[in-house]
Amino acid sequence: MDDRDLQYQKYKSILENYLQEQSEQTLYKGQQFSRKMIEQKISPEEAVSLHVSVLEELFPDIPQPLKNSYDFLLEMMIGYGFAYREHQSLRSRQQQLESEIEIAANMQQTLLAGDKPDVNGLDIGAISKPAQKMSGDYYHFVQDENNCMSVAIADVIGKGIPAALCMSMIKYTMDSAPEQRMQPGAVLENLNRVVEQNVDPNMFITMFYGLYDPRVHSFYYAGAGHEPGFFYDAEKDEFEELFTKGLVLGVSKKTSYQEYQRVLHGNDMVIMLSDGVTECRSSDGFIERDEIVAMIRKYIHLSAQEIVDEVYRELERLQEFELRDDFTLVILRREV
């Protein structure tokens, strides 16, 4: 007996049962049988055909008009079969696409994963979480032979795969011009040129770039339309905005970026973030920058990494665990 016969016999016995006694139990059996049929990729028209052939065996004297009507139903079901098969094929294609994206996301992780460097006298915390599988946020640390550390934090306007592709380009550009690393303004000017030439005009990138020199405890920085960070003055116990003047990358061919400098005293902090942090939305609307400051203050007694982790956890909870934008937060603190 092949599968088809087996199926036929099984269906016949369930249907006979049901015709004798219209019990819920038999209907339940029918439901289970249909699941099995779906698993075996039996199309709707085959299901109808199965039903009709069982009926014809059980009632050899079915009136001709009724028989004809089944032929009509069969014809109708072909269309549903069409749609059903297309659905199956699209579903398997979607699975394939998803696994491809998964691979790309892993690749991006290895590409962008910049380990936090060990800088004498500096406590560093960093967290970056993508809203979807691929991130349009980027942060990167580089440490040179003088123990100077540069940090870049960027956000591609847009999310997902296009943003991620763009991000990879930024990374290569930064890697290929190591001699500029000491001049934040020049770094941004170079990047601006690359982005302007290579990226679609309706894609923008904002960036904050800074360099910490532990020998003079100074932080040099410049920004390209990026969400302003904060500076924490430990002595005054005050947070202030890290203002930078400069156009978003890729808008205009010739742009210059002003460079700023801050001296870090003991326990002073530099806080850098992406707009995914400030554009978090809770049920009561946008989260204000003040609230971010308040959260950082709440965890200020912890290490830099613990602060960023806790702030992320709290914002994640406020948004009911649904990240709408890529989230990146970096904190540097001069140890005493």
Binding site: E45, E46, S49, D71, I78, G79, F82, R85, E86
Partner: protein, 133 residues
């Protein structure tokens, strides 16, 4: 036994004619009701494509034999604008008519064999076979 028929497709009535002759031949060859309905639907879709996109063409249906296997072959041909991107029309979810047309991938799945040959501004020939089991 040499069963064959050829229907010219110029209007919607011709689609019905093509279906009818396809069904007759399928029945004669001994296809079951489900396969008859599938073959007819495939013919219907191919004829409809001719009517909608090429204006006119023909659908030829014939009995084929291969190594003792018996089958039905549909050949739909036209000298219309042709298909620019065959890969695209063979993709699921792509229907230029925007309607619920099953499209060519659907036809391919209904039948056992399917080949398409098309040149821009010259026309399209689609050949498809269903084997009798």
């Amino acid at each position: 036994m040499n069963i064959q028929s050829c229907v010219e497709v110029r209007n919607e009535w011709d689609i019905v004619k093509a279906r009818q002759s396809g069904r007759n031949i399928a029945k004669e060859l001994g296809f079951g009701t489900v396969d008859q309905a599938r073959i007819t639907t495939a013919i219907s879709e191919l004829a409809r494509n001719i009517y909608l996109y090429a204006g006119n063409g023909e659908v030829a249906i014939e009995r084929v034999e291969n190594g003792g296997k018996l089958g039905l072959k549909i050949e739909a041909s036209d000298s219309g604008p042709g298909i620019k991107d065959i890969r695209k029309v063979m993709e699921d979810g792509f229907t230029t008519s925007g309607g619920l047309g099953a499209g060519l991938p659907g036809v391919k799945r209904l039948m056992d064999e399917f080949t398409i040959d098309s040149k821009e501004n010259e026309g399209t020939i689609i050949t498809s076979i269903k084997w009798l089991r």
